[in-house]
């Protein structure tokens, strides 16, 4: 089918990039002579980097090289951070013109100092996010902190970030989020057609491919999918899941879900719905707009908020999506998630949703055991569903 073939081509482009994001971005940098500024999850305002004339590049879940970090960072730091530092230590991030590390936990808070000491980049900044987001002081402070980051970015790229430029960047990133959300909607209304792995890969590729191109690719993809919409049969008997955690890596988990007929309806990952939900205002003070978007993001373990309780949020998410169950993917050694878990589980289970928690490493994972556990969980859900 021609449509399917075209679809395959677009999807291939996303996959190709993710096969080796470092290779992709370095080639892009050479060809386009632009600066590339790396960022670590989560919540770094890519719009600000873009408005400074640099390309934001997400260092997310690249596997391998963990032992490189052993001499600098204890083994009980999460694999996400150890893996990133490992990449730097191998010299694989030397092409970066800069790096932004957001302070979201104790590990990220300490990482910058170590990194700067062992593998300094020409420009390195911490993004000192407010950890309380409920009171007025947070907003004032965050606007100030964004202002500091903006000034530092201007020093890095030598280009002024005008309000107009920033508004244009915000509009570009909003467009990306709108398109990703449309794609997500398509995915949940046509479960199992493009698959979990594919959809999450597309979200991840947004953190790598320059946004102008990513938007083009998404538009082509959505056009193709809209042509398909009527003709395709919605797959019957799939299990609807809600996922929760910091990141959804390792990607193989999504293959496991695909293989066993489970479809992810919603999540709260910083590399998932938290990344694509909520836009920044395109009018008014753009710095205020970025601050407000940050403060109003969906709940996350690192920024407790009484306004928007994470436990009820997750239970409601499962309810709205008529989920069969909730799957927690927790990065091993992620303290914020470990603290949240018991009450999160209680909340979803008392709302009637069975749950499973698995501890993950972004690489080096014993996938066989993981698959067995997930499979058993899905079978249990299937059993319940047909009672």
């Amino acid at each position: 089918m021609a449509v399917n073939q075209y679809l395959g081509e677009v999807l291939h482009r996303f996959d190709k990039v993710l096969e080796d994001p470092l290779e992709f971005i370095q080639q892009y940098k050479t060809e386009n002579r632009v600066k590339v500024i790396g960022w670590l999850p989560a919540d770094v305002p890519e719009e600000l980097i873009h408005a400074s004339g640099a390309i934001p590049f997400g260092i997310i879940g690249h596997s391998g090289g963990y032992s490189w970090a052993d001499a600098h960072l204890q083994t009980w730091a999460c694999s996400l951070v150890r893996g990133s530092l490992g990449l730097a230590l191998q010299g694989k991030l030397a092409f970066l013109d800069g790096l932004i590390i957001p302070h979201i936990c104790d590990t990220t808070r300490n990482l910058g100092g170590i990194w700067k000491h062992v593998r300094p980049l020409p420009w390195m900044e911490n993004y000192l996010l407010p950890r309380q987001v409920d009171r007025p002081s947070a907003r004032t402070y965050l606007t100030g902190e964004l202002g500091r980051l903006k000034a530092r970015l201007e020093q890095c790229t030598g280009r002024e970030i005008t309000a107009r430029k920033l508004q244009e960047s915000i509009a570009l990133f909003n467009q990306n989020r709108v398109l990703l959300r449309r794609l997500w909607q398509w995915h949940v209304s046509h479960p199992g057609v493009i698959g979990n792995r594919v959809i999450y890969n597309i979200i991840k590729s947004a953190m790598v491919i320059p946004r102008e191109e990513h938007n083009q690719l998404l538009m082509q993809l959505l056009e193709t999918l809209d042509h398909m919409a009527g003709g395709e049969e919605v797959e019957e008997g799939c299990l609807r899941l809600v996922l929760s955690g910091k990141v959804w890596d390792p990607p193989e988990i999504m293959n496991i879900l695909d293989k066993h007929g489970a479809v992810v309806m919603a999540d709260d990952f910083t590399t998932g719905q938290r990344y694509l939900a909520g836009d920044a205002a395109e009018t008014g003070d753009p710095m205020e707009a970025l601050a407000l978007r940050q403060i109003n993001r969906i709940p996350f373990a690192c920024f407790p908020t009484a306004r928007y309780d994470r436990r009820s949020f997750l239970a409601e998410l499962a309810g709205k999506n008529r989920a069969h169950g909730v799957l927690f993917l927790h990065l091993k050694y992620c303290e914020p998630e470990n603290f949240d878990y018991p009450d999160m589980r209680a909340a979803v289970e008392s709302a009637g949703f069975p749950s499973l928690r698995v501890e993950t490493d972004v690489g080096n994972l014993s996938l066989g055991q993981l698959e067995t556990r997930i499979e058993a969980f899905l079978e249990m859900l299937r059993g319940r569903g047909t009672e």
């Binding site: 204890q74 104790d106 300490n110 170590i114 000491h117 950890r131 470990n338 603290f339 949240d340 009450d343």
Partner: protein, 407 residues
């Protein structure tokens, strides 16, 4: 620590702490709110408001010292709390769920206040406790100071202190008295000044007082700073130490080395470490941990001064500043070597220590090691490994001074 007469003030300490805990019960009966606070929290605000501050970290340390962390932790683990979490938090949460309370039940809060200058574990623990006890949680947020303190960070903290005061006024129905805060800060400052001068005595050779003594005598500076009792206590302790210096009673007999320790002690092995070092003729003279409470307040600038002190703690500083602070302590106390404790319960203290060890050795020429353990949970303590590392370290020290003792 062997052979010297016990501290007269130790009895006073026991009585003071017993009185303090009794006041907690009394407060509850009188309807005075019990407020959970963290060790590095502007407790002066809580004392000034006439509320009872309770320190769950003390509870964690107590459980650790009595070697029951694993027992309490298992009660938390049974609820789904991972044993990778901070040991204090596992003790506190575990005790909330446990039916047996080997160190007495943790005090139930009416409000939980937390400052994240120290770490991100405390806010998550307190937030969970807030849900468990169904009481409000208030976080004083202190972003890291990368190099020098910024106006932005200071103003943010001051703004939050005002929010805290608003919060207290609404909850208690009482107008907050800033003059009373200044009085409490003056008392707090006086206790801190005395505490600092006591810690300084470890620089004498031989010293009458060392880190392990400080770990014992620190309870009032953490818990009761801001009260008259704390001032009186440290005045008495200082007097006793001066007397010991005059009489020539050292902390350890035959002091040959002074050691810098970073940071907190391994509570359930406190005696083991103290004995080991004493047997080596080594006085652990200084640690950033016990110096954490050596603040300096200016009661004429209440909120500003609180903001400066509580945000600028070493643990909230960048890599380079923290290295420099360690080196400054090492020089001031003229240590012969240093030991960094990579504490599985404490990421902010531990991450970066491997590189800091190398930097500090390079800059000071002092030998140093990193040991791996946990401040509270013996399941993460491998005695042979730790002892092996210490043996090598002392062998190195012996060689450096040719067995002749310090000059």
């Amino acid at each position: 620590m062997t052979g010297r007469p016990p501290f007269v003030t130790a009895d006073l300490l026991k009585k003071m702490m017993a009185d303090y805990y009794a006041r907690g019960n009394e407060a509850r009966q009188r309807g005075v709110p019990v407020v959970w606070v963290t060790a590095v929290f502007p407790v002066e605000v809580v004392y000034a408001a006439g509320l009872f501050p309770y320190y769950p970290e003390n509870f964690g340390a107590m459980a650790a010292a009595r070697k029951v962390t694993d027992q309490l932790s298992r009660a938390a683990e049974a609820q789904g709390y991972s044993f990778d979490l901070c040991g204090y938090a596992r003790c506190g949460l575990g005790d909330a769920y446990a039916s047996e309370h080997p160190v007495g039940a943790i005090e139930k809060p009416d409000m939980v206040f937390c400052c994240n200058t120290q770490c991100g574990s405390l806010p998550k623990w307190f937030e969970a406790a807030g849900r468990f006890y169904q009481v409000p949680f208030f976080l004083l947020d202190s972003p890291m100071i990368q190099s020098t303190p910024t106006t932005l960070g200071r103003l943010y903290f001051i703004e939050q202190l005002k929010e805290l005061i608003d919060f207290l006024e609404i909850r208690t129905g009482q107008t907050f008295d800033l003059d009373r805060l200044a009085e409490v800060m003056a008392l707090s400052g006086e206790a801190c000044r005395l505490w600092n001068s006591i810690l300084d005595m470890a620089a004498l050779s031989p010293a009458p007082f060392g880190f392990f003594d400080a770990c014992y005598h620190m309870a009032p500076i953490v818990t009761l700073r801001g009260t008259r009792e704390a001032v009186e206590y440290y005045r008495a302790l200082k007097g006793e130490l001066e007397e010991r210096v005059a009489k020539g009673i050292p902390a350890i007999s035959g002091e040959r080395f002074k050691i810098y320790w970073d940071h907190i002690p391994v509570w359930p092995k406190l005696r083991w470490f103290a004995d080991y070092f004493a047997s080596r003729g080594a006085l652990v003279a200084v640690s950033q941990y016990t110096h954490s409470w050596a603040w300096s307040f200016d009661p004429s600038r209440t909120l500003e001064s609180l903001a400066e002190n509580y945000t600028e703690a070493f643990i909230n500083r960048g890599f380079e500043q923290r290295v420099q602070m360690k080196i400054d302590f090492m020089r001031k106390y003229k240590v012969d070597g240093f030991i960094f404790f990579s504490n599985r319960s404490c990421k902010p203290n531990s991450f970066g220590l491997y590189d800091k060890r190398n930097v500090v050795s390079r800059r000071t020429g002092l030998p140093g090691i990193v040991i791996e353990a946990d401040m509270s949970d013996l399941r993460f303590f491998a005695e042979d490994q730790v002892k092996g590392k210490l043996d090598v370290f002392f062998h190195q020290l012996e060689q450096r001074i040719g067995g002749a003792g310090r000059q």
